[in-house]
Structure formats: structure tokens, C-alpha cells
Symmetry: D2
Subunit: 150 residues, 4 copies
């Protein structure tokens, strides 16, 4: 995806490495879903999660909310190595299209920053199920300073 040259100059490899190393220990929804951050490069994140039986509906496919939760997490995580220490990113909106039912295997999300400003970013997420495109999403995130920052 084309971005302006230098747009991701502030990429912090140390933060990226720390996020990948610890992604299974964060608790909450990401841990329930089993999301693993695999690879973080400037403006790009690859994450995976296994489709375990508990995440399947009685109709035999992954619950749409599972995919949505996975997507939302990947929308935000890709931004952390690009932000200043202490800043945080919150999704303000996103949209997803489910392309096919997912019944088993692994989901692999590729999260790509399409534009990054001082206060907001637009991110795209493509999710594949064992190599086949299963869901596409795009959303906006707000970048906030830590409380007390000037």
C-alpha cells in the first residue's frame, strides 16, 4: 500500500519487539480469543488466532463477533510502535465485510496503516483463513496523549 515516504519514520522497534514477545499475556478479550502478534514492521502488523471449537456458533462457523474482536484488536495494535511513549490509540469507527464462513484452522490478520496523522490514523485489516481471504475491514483510530500531558 502506498504511503508517503517517511510517514513511519518514528517506528520504535523496541516497542514492536516487546508487543510481539508479550502478546499472549495481556488478559481480557485478546487472550480469550487467543490473539498472537507475530510480526510488526513500520505501518504493518501480522497477527494470528486459532479457531477453537468454543468460538464456533451452533451453525458451525466462527461467531461474527470473534472476527470483529480480532479485527478491532489488530486495528489498534499496529499503531503503538508509531506513537510517542505514553500515547494510546482508540478505535473510533470501523467496518468489516465477511467474505466467507470460517469453520476451522487459523486466522491470519494483516493490519496496514493507510494514513497516520498526529491525532488520527486510518488502518486496513485483511484476514485470511488458511490462505483464503475471509474478512476485510477498515477503520479510524484516535491517538490520545496520556492524562496530564501538555
Amino acid at each position: 500500500m502506498s504511503t508517503k515516504s517517511g510517514e513511519f519514520e518514528g517506528f520504535n522497534q523496541r516497542i514492536a519487539d516487546a508487543m510481539v514477545a508479550s502478546s499472549e499475556q495481556g488478559g481480557g478479550l485478546p487472550q480469550y480469543l487467543g490473539i498472537h502478534l507475530r510480526e510488526m514492521t513500520p505501518g504493518r502488523l501480522v497477527a494470528t488466532m486459532d479457531v477453537r471449537p468454543e468460538l464456533i456458533t451452533p451453525m458451525g462457523a466462527v461467531h461474527g463477533g470473534v472476527m470483529a474482536g480480532f479485527v478491532d484488536h489488530c486495528l489498534g495494535c499496529v499503531l503503538y510502535p508509531l506513537m510517542k511513549p505514553g500515547q494510546w490509540a482508540a478505535t473510533t469507527e470501523f467496518k468489516l465485510n465477511y467474505l466467507r464462513a470460517v469453520r476451522a484452522g487459523t486466522l491470519t490478520a494483516e493490519s496496514t496503516v493507510l494514513s497516520m496523522g498526529r491525532r488520527s490514523a486510518v488502518v486496513r485489516v485483511d484476514v485470511r483463513n488458511d490462505g483464503t481471504l475471509a474478512c476485510v475491514a477498515q477503520g479510524t483510530l484516535l491517538v490520545s496523549d496520556p492524562p496530564g500531558a501538555k
Copy 2:
């Protein structure tokens, strides 16, 4: 919301009652989130979930994926009493806007069917946090026949 008169004539009160009575026992993501279906009338569903600490991010707000999972579940559930026995509904796309950070209390979703055809439906979900609008969503669902149906 205006709909064509008679659009929800096929509403099945028995299915609605059974869904409300059993909504806490379905397992999977809805049970992890703690979603309770409270009230189902033709073309409308009210559901709630409590914001427990595990669903909060380190930044102190409900994880966006939690809200997305809640919304996705409410998009689909409102359709079951309107479909023929054995049919099922799958979200094909949805979009949500987060209006404000949610830190505690209860989320209440109102899911409203905006249009209902033989094969697809458009549904809107408004989520309030202790009375204040916190998230709005709209999406499309595909209605499918059971395997083997003609």
C-alpha cells in the same frame, strides 16, 4: 423506526421467549461477554451486558472488540423470531461508530430491523451505557436455509 406495515407478521413469540429465557447458557463468545437477551418484540431486541473489569483495556475503557462482539450478536439475534424454523442468519457486514469511552456500568443494546427480505435483512443497533448513547451500528445479514432444504 418506520417499516412497512405487516413486515414482521411472521414473528414467532415462542422462539422469542425461548431465546430470552436461555440467552445466558449458549456458551462461546456471548457467554464470555455476558450478553443477556432481555426483550424481543417484532423487529426489535433489547440486550444487556455488564462491564466487568476483565473487559477493560489497560487504558481504562471497554475494549473496542467487546463492543463489536456485543453488537454483532445483537445484529443477528433479532432476526430469529422472524425467520422460518431451521433458517439461520449470518452477518455479512457491519459498521460501528464508538461515540464515547465506556468505563463501567451496563451496556444496553437496542437492535432494530430496518428492512427484512426473504434472503437478507438490514439491522441497526444503538448501544447505551447507563442511558447515554455509546455506540451506533448498522449491518446486513444473510438468511440461509438449513442444509438439505429445498
Copy 3:
């Protein structure tokens, strides 16, 4: 739609009246489409446009882009009486669902502000065709200061 009490306190009736009085003379896409602003109250706008033959595709329905242009215009206009003089609103994203084909008659859009902050707003638009819901949309707008403002 519930909003926080006082959220629209800054509503400027004079700006609203001027917009309604002059809406047919703005030129560009809105004039090509024939959009008329009919009524502006705090956080709410009603606008109409007639479905003239030129806006119909060879398949006999209003071009989706006509509806999208109408929606986009209504997303932004509702904010002007709520902003400070000189500020302007730009759509940063929106999503729409087409509920039924529109073949003739008048389109009436109701644009409602769901949340309004200092820098952004979320707005919903419902479009009816001769009384029947034909399109629903929701989007985000960025509020900007005039160049040179501090």
C-alpha cells in the same frame, strides 16, 4: 435520539435560516442533484431532492452515487449552525446501506447529530422515498478552524 442535555446549546438560528433560504444556489454537486435544505433545528436537518430522470440508471433506479452524494451533503450541513463562525466540517468517513431501489418521487433525508465534540461529530442520516425508508447512513465529520485561527 438521546443526546446529552445542552449538547446543542450553541445552535445558531440565523445561520440555519440562511442555509435553508439559500440552499438551491450553492452550485456544484448539491445543485446538480437538486438538494433543498428544508428545516434545521438543533442537531437535526431535513432535506429533499426530486428524483429526476437524469439521475436514474439504465436499470431504472436512482444511481447509488446520487444517494451517496445526497447523504454526504446532509451529513455535513447539519453541523454548521452548531459550529463557531468560520469553522467548517469535512466528512472523514461514512457508510450507507441501500434498503430498496428508488425509481421516482422525492427523497427526504433526516440528518441527526448523535454526538458533537469540539473537533468531531458523528451523524446519522435516514433517507425516505415517499415515506418509505430507502437508505440509512452514519458517518464522522471533522470540525476545522478557519486558516489563521489560533
Copy 4:
């Protein structure tokens, strides 16, 4: 974008060529906007439009509805060479993110089919302004048979 091998086998080069050759003569919104179809290959369309002064708002940027109309048109056109003769495609929903204000020059849209079934398709559109990404969109289209078809 990965798609299943053979997914676009039915691509009809003659229809594609005819659409490219005649795209400036269709009338209606596409002609008002000045949309030119430039290149159609299986599952992919490139189209352009010039940003003429009439399409700029008083704030100095392309009207959001102009971009939305351009996107909607490109969402649908990419499908025609993939459908059976007489079938038509109607957008049922789409969403777009505006990445930066467009003030002059040319808009170039790349429309890509992400999934194509017998009855519906999901399409992505990226719009660049003189080489820089300016808008991204994704949407769903319904494929319909001509009246009277069995």
C-alpha cells in the same frame, strides 16, 4: 489481492472493451462527474476523473459526495464483465474513509473484486490523487437477473 483461482473465469473481454470505449457517453451522474473507465481486466477496473472547479466546495476541497459518487460507480462497473449478459449489479452498501483533502488534479480509482458469488460480490476501491492515496472504500453488490429471467 488474493482470490480463488478461476474465480474470474467468466470475464468477458468484449463487454470490458465496450465499457471502456463508451464510458464518457452514459449521461447522468457519471457523466456530470466526468468519470472515464480506463482499463478493465478480470476482477479489476481503473477509472479516472478530473477535479474541475465546479466539484470543489467553498472550503477548497472536492465535495465528499463527488468522491462517494465516483467510488459507487467504480464499485459496480468492475462487475459487468464478470456477470452473465443481462444481469446487473446494484450496490447494497458501502463505506469510505477520506484520507486527505483533494484540491486539484486527477482522481484515479482502482476497483478490485475481493469475492464474487452467484448473487453478490464484495469490492474494494482505492482512490489516489496524483499518486497519493486519498480515499479507500469497500462495499457489497447484489447481482440480479433481468426481469423475466428464470
